[in-house]
Amino acid sequence: MRGTIGALLAKDLALELRTRESVPAMVLFSVTTYVIFHFGLDRNTVSGDLAAGVLWVTILFASILGINRLFVAEHEQGGFDGFLLAPVDRTALFVAKALALFAFLCIVEVVAVPAFAVLLLGPSPAQALPGLLLVLALANAGVAATGTLVAALAIQTRARDLIGPLLALPLLVPVVLASARATTPLLQQGGAQPLPGDWLAVLALYDLVFALIAYAVFDFLLED
């Protein structure tokens, strides 16, 4: 199992490095969204709950881009067949793709979060950083689990670019909700407040539930 996941993950990372399709687009999209927020909200800086909201909505929509592209290579180049013919546990594909999406999100956030701090954030994020990293990690896990499942569902439909976001956005509302509420005290104007533990618990619960469900049903999406 681990070998299969390793093979799949290595292949996906190699492809992404070679084609540079998803990650740069997600980064650019994030920065552009900040600009749009600036004009849309008519604010030079944001803090507190507004900052948390802007940050998480942007990350959410950038994730949608990544989700849409996740299985495209498999679908268009017959990669599903190639994988299905191998004597491997098919759930490895879910794990590998979720890990890939998680990795892409982390890379995107390495650029997008500092960009946010520079462009829009009022208070300095230095104090908030450890807490923020924790929330980002938990949120990314949730997006990765749900996003991979939705991507696998959507890739077989005719209108996959539409079905993907339509499914993912409502399903990710709890992630955005919990992440924003958790981040709000970190980005307060007067200095970072402590991280609220219960919202982290909600995120962790979401991650667990959806990871388990996705793990259980993924096989059914692949077979024919």
């Binding site: 070998g3 299969t4 390793g6 093979a7 290595a10 292949k11 190699a14 492809l15 070679r18 084609t19 290579a73 180049q77 017959g78 990669g79 067949d81 190639g82 994988f83 299905l84 013919l85 191998a86 004597p87 491997v88 077979e223 024919d224």
Partner: protein, 235 residues
């Protein structure tokens, strides 16, 4: 001593596509080491049959047994022993031939502790004549070269059963001759292949199956079938 179990055995196998029957009531037995050639017009069910044997499609009716395992329940057990060459080469266009093969080798557990997986990749690349261009992205290769790489991918894990859907498509005569030892009769493996060439197909096979509209129109030892009978399928 009881007869060894046939490598491929179908009994009343069927597969629906919506309300249409893509394959209906197909029954045959193929012994190990023998070759089955499948003829039929487009849409007759040839590809469906091959994909079903490859465990890519579940049978909707009847019994299907491949290499001693019943499909779909025991499909897992046979996947590593089947080599499938379909219409798609199943190669990632941005990766090189070698990288693609290495990926498939890892999937088939060939690169695990032993290093002879890498040697096998090299050997297969040489056998299909792609040694020199193995490190170019697949997108830069001609169709014939891609087909050769596809053949390499199909035989990489030394399968017992080969399922070949028009294997010589896009191959010039020289390339076709080059891959014969790997996927032709000389390979000694059990083979099921589709063909649009009545004379050539019959010559290289032990058993001939003719499909029409998803149904079995003809099943006989290849030696006793004439090209005219095959032509009737296309009428």
């Amino acid at each position: 001593m009881p007869d060894p179990e046939p490598a491929v055995s179908l009994r009343g196998a069927g597969r629906r596509y919506g309300e249409r029957a893509a394959l209906r009531d197909v029954s045959l037995e193929l012994a190990a080491g023998q070759t089955l050639v499948v003829f039929g017009p487009n849409g007759a069910g040839k590809t469906t049959l091959l994909r079903m044997l490859a465990t890519l499609l579940r049978p909707h009716a009847g019994e299907v047994r491949v290499l001693g395992s019943s499909l779909p329940d025991d499909g897992y057990a046979v996947r590593g022993r089947i080599g499938f060459l379909g219409h798609e080469p199943l190669l990632y266009r941005e990766l090189s031939g070698r990288e693609n093969l290495r990926y498939y080798a890892r999937l088939h557990g060939m690169l695990a502790p032993e290093a002879d997986g890498a040697a096998r990749i090299g050997a297969v690349l040489e056998a299909v004549g792609m040694e020199r261009r193995a490190d170019d992205p697949v997108a830069e290769l001609s169709r014939g070269m891609v087909q050769r790489l596809a053949v390499a991918r199909a035989v990489l894990h030394e399968p017992e059963l080969l399922l070949l859907d028009e294997p010589l498509a896009n191959l010039d005569p020289a390339a076709a001759a080059q891959v014969q030892p790997l996927i032709g009769r000389a390979s000694g493996r059990t083979r099921v292949l589709t063909s649009h060439d009545p004379a050539g197909g019959l010559a290289g096979a032990d058993l001939a199956l003719g499909l029409k509209g998803g149904r079995q129109a003809l099943l006989a030892p290849a030696a006793g079938v004439t090209p005219e009978q095959i032509a009737e399928l296309y009428a």
